[in-house]
């Protein structure tokens, strides 16, 4: 038996093991960003990491984008909003706070903070602004970055854990500040705010003609009112959001700084790991510090030495055995040879064959078998109740074996998928999280996930397999 049962249970081994606890404990770690494709348990991972860090003594805030009520409830909060709320029931000295990004509220707050009252009112009532801020997809990314910058600037928490939006393209949230920056610096914004500025400059005359042609085109395309709304909005953006670009750049730099760690979250499925590989490559290209890959929902088996094929064959045997039994024959399967071929001592053979004979023909051999097992292991002798003669037990056991075969197939598929990833990115440390049969409903559930996340400790021998 391996000294690390978890490792055996997962059945998957990786070249490098991501050790979550030192990362969470390091006071130098100030921001952890969880990214990954949708449906891989990203939000749950962020919450579980937050809880674990808090219970290890840190003052943590989790910024989540996912409005799933269930997660809020699991942290004992009815609904999360744009303000960090303290989570109750956290053990130890640390603190856990949680908040959910409210895009519109965040956007409004920026406007209110950076424009005078009158201008702010004008922007807030602009129909184009209202549509944009209420959540055209994409706004989320800007606002998540903005909120992260704000939280970091407040310096109230020593660790911020961010769950990124389920973007249509994986790293929209990284691109967002740049795009906004290039937009604010771009010619379009000058065009849209042009009519007033360009009028008097003779040297710009040709350009000016081109510009009015363009505004004319836009006007035709958008309709006069909308163009006016867009122009008003853009002008307001330009003047009040001048600081946005600076802040966005600062946040971007913050993400590249040593205090930040990115965790790519995935499930052991082809698509999710393909996205994960893409994340890993993009993060490297952007000089973003990657701590590792969290591989959620990894299936293991405590009986992984029994292959799917052997399990199915054994299930078949049981079915045949029952047919034989029903025929009243005593020629049941008696050839219960040792499937592993090595670990059984020869001395145990007689007991074994007696037992298998009993299984095939209970009437005849029960006393013998009991005696034999009492002699060999001094146990299991006085267990009454249904024994192998119960066809229900055979049926159940065949079912257990088929279930195991299914598990083993899943396990080997997950292993192949994961190995493909690690072959491509051997430098990426991996933390495997054993799958839960159900969903997370409370802090205990999150704590359990946290334990599973941290189970791959390198101090445990044999957890690193090269």
């Amino acid at each position: 038996m391996s000294p690390n049962p978890d490792r055996v249970q997962h059945g998957l081994t990786s070249t490098r093991v991501l050790d979550v606890d030192p990362l969470l404990d390091d006071p130098g770690t100030r921001i952890v960003v969880c990214c990954g494709s949708g449906g891989v348990g990203k939000t749950t991972t962020a919450a579980a990491l937050g809880l674990r860090a808090a219970e290890r003594g840190r003052k943590v805030v989790v910024l989540t984008i996912d409005p799933a009520r269930r997660l809020a409830q699991s942290m004992g909060i009815d609904s999360l909003d744009n303000t960090p709320r303290r989570v109750k029931g956290v053990e130890g000295e640390g603190e856990l706070h949680a908040m959910m990004l409210d895009m519109k509220r965040t956007f409004d707050e920026i406007v209110e903070a950076h424009a005078d009252r009158e201008r702010a009112a004008a922007i807030l009532s602009n129909p184009f602004y209202q549509s944009l801020s209420a959540g055209f997809a994409g706004t989320q990314e800007y606002m998540a970055m903005e909120k992260l910058g704000q939280l970091r600037a407040r310096d109230e928490w020593d660790l911020i854990i961010v769950d990124t939006p389920p973007s249509r393209s994986a790293l929209d949230f990284l691109d967002a500040p740049k795009r906004l920056g290039s937009f604010l610096d771009g010619r379009l914004i000058r065009l849209l705010t042009a009519p007033a500025k360009l009028g008097g400059r003779a040297g710009m005359k040709f350009l000016n003609v081109g510009m009015s042609m363009m505004t004319g085109t836009l006007g035709r395309l958008l309709g006069g009112q909308l163009l006016k709304d867009v122009q008003t909005f853009v002008a307001a953006m330009d003047t009040t959001f001048g600081g946005f670009r600076t802040r966005a750049d600062a946040t971007y730099k913050l993400l590249q700084a040593p205090g930040t760690a990115f965790l790519v979250v995935a499930a052991p499925e082809r698509d999710a790991l393909r996205e994960a590989a893409y994340f890993v490559e993009r993060l490297a290209a952007e000089d973003m510090p990657l701590a590792g890959l969290v591989l959620n929902r990894v299936h293991g088996s405590g009986a992984d030495r029994l292959s799917a094929e052997r399990a199915l064959a054994a299930a078949e045997n049981l079915v045949e055995l029952r047919i034989v039994d029903q025929d009243g024959g005593k020629a049941g399967l008696r050839n219960s040879s040792d499937p592993y071929g090595s670990s059984e001592s020869p001395a145990s053979r007689p007991a074994e064959s007696a037992e298998s004979a009993e299984a095939a023909d209970p009437d005849a051999s029960r006393p013998t078998a009991s005696a034999a097992s009492a002699a060999s292991a001094a146990s299991e002798t006085n267990s009454p109740g249904p024994d192998a003669e119960d066809p229900g037990v055979d049926r159940l056991t065949a079912g257990l074996l088929r279930l195991h075969a299914e598990r083993m197939r899943l396990l080997s598929r997950e292993q192949r998928t994961r190995d493909r990833f690690t072959a491509l990115h051997p430098e990426v440390a991996v933390a495997e999280v054993a799958a839960l049969p159900g969903d997370v409903h409370d802090l205990a559930g999150l704590r359990d996930i946290g334990d599973r996340l941290a189970a791959n400790r390198p101090e445990l021998p044999e957890s690193v397999v090269d």
Partner: protein, 325 residues
């Protein structure tokens, strides 16, 4: 049968796979379908094991009985130029807009406009006719954004029509909404038998209905086979370990005595059965939640060997069998 089939679902439920299988299923018997990808992930190309799709309708599969599946990965920027050209004859001006960064603005800074383009393009394909007067495609299947975003995505043109009160954009937006809100469209939601995706499906349906968008069917994907039934699971709870050990031994898996190989299997196997039981109960519960939503329910099996092209044809066959096409 609606001609525009929109397939949405929570991330990780396999909506791209279901959309592709549906396109195949609808293409059987000489029909022609267009499978549209709007999220730029190239998931369709990967499913059909072809190279990345360009912004161009191209045939990617032949369905049983001579039907054809075409695929299109919509590139928002090209779609915008296309759209400008098609509706406003603005080819040159389009290029100028691009230089100015207006295309970037439209497709990235104001991603809502990107949704306008994507839905617009799909509706254009639905309405397009050949010279003979026959529809260019019998069905258009859209691999749409996830459930959390689908209503807003489909409804974006309503918002645009409200913003641009007159002019060609207003008219175009209204034309698109007419298609999307009519019986010509059906929005299907893909889910798994798990709590969160089911909850999201229920929420998604409520949102779609509130927005007067036509909800189609619920497709439960990756349904695991029933290996142990209710009676088995009851037995799991109080079966003596020794009888299981004996049965395993009888099946040829080693000794049933304590420490024997068969005996050592008992705990892990019963443990797996307990996990199965927990999941079984959960799935049962989720199935009844879905049943209460009042929509036709379809189930697709989990493919034991993972998803590949053969599996896709298998799922298409299953969808046909269940009368989804």
């Amino acid at each position: 049968m609606s001609r525009l089939q929109v397939v949405s679902g929570k991330g990780g439920t396999g909506k791209t796979t279901v959309a592709a299988a549906l396109a195949l299923a609808l293409a059987t018997e000489g029909k022609r379908t267009l499978l549209v990808e709007v999220e730029g992930r190239q998931g369709i190309a990967q499913l059909f094991e072809t190279e990345a799709l360009p912004y161009e309708e191209r045939k990617i599969a032949v369905a049983p009985g001579g039907g054809e599946v075409y695929a299109l990965a919509i590139d928002p920027e090209l779609a915008l130029l296309d759209y400008l050209q098609m509706f406003y004859k603005l080819g040159g001006a389009g290029r100028a807009l691009k230089k100015l960064g207006a295309i970037d603005f439209a497709t990235t800074i104001a991603p809502g406009l990107r949704d306008v383009l994507l839905t617009g393009k799909a509706c254009e394909a639905v309405r397009r006719k050949e010279k003979s007067g026959r529809f260019a495609y019998d069905y258009v299947v859209m691999d749409a954004p996830p459930t959390g975003r689908i209503t807003r995505f489909l409804n974006v043109n309503d918002e645009v029509a409200g913003l641009a009160k007159i002019g060609p954009i207003h008219n175009q937006a209204q034309a698109v909404m007419r298609v999307l809100k009519s019986a010509e469209t059906a929005v299907h939601l893909v889910t798994l038998l798990e709590e969160m995706p089911v909850q999201e499906t229920a929420d998604g349906i409520a949102e779609l209905r509130a927005a007067n968008l036509p909800v189609g069917r619920i497709i439960v994907n990756m349904v695991r086979p029933e290996v142990l039934d209710g009676a088995d699971l009851e037995l799991v709870r109080d079966v003596p370990r020794s009888s299981v050990a004996k049965a395993l031994s009888a099946a040829g898996l080693g000794g049933a005595r304590r420490g024997g190989n068969a005996e050592k299997l008992v705990d892990p196997l019963l443990g797996q059965a307990e996990e199965y039981a927990e999941r079984y109960a959960l799935e049962h519960e989720q199935r009844s939640v879905l049943g209460g939503l009042g929509l036709p329910l379809h189930e697709l099996p989990l493919l034991a060997e993972g998803m590949d092209l053969a599996g896709l044809y298998e799922l298409a066959k299953e969808l046909r069998k269940q009368g989804m096409s």
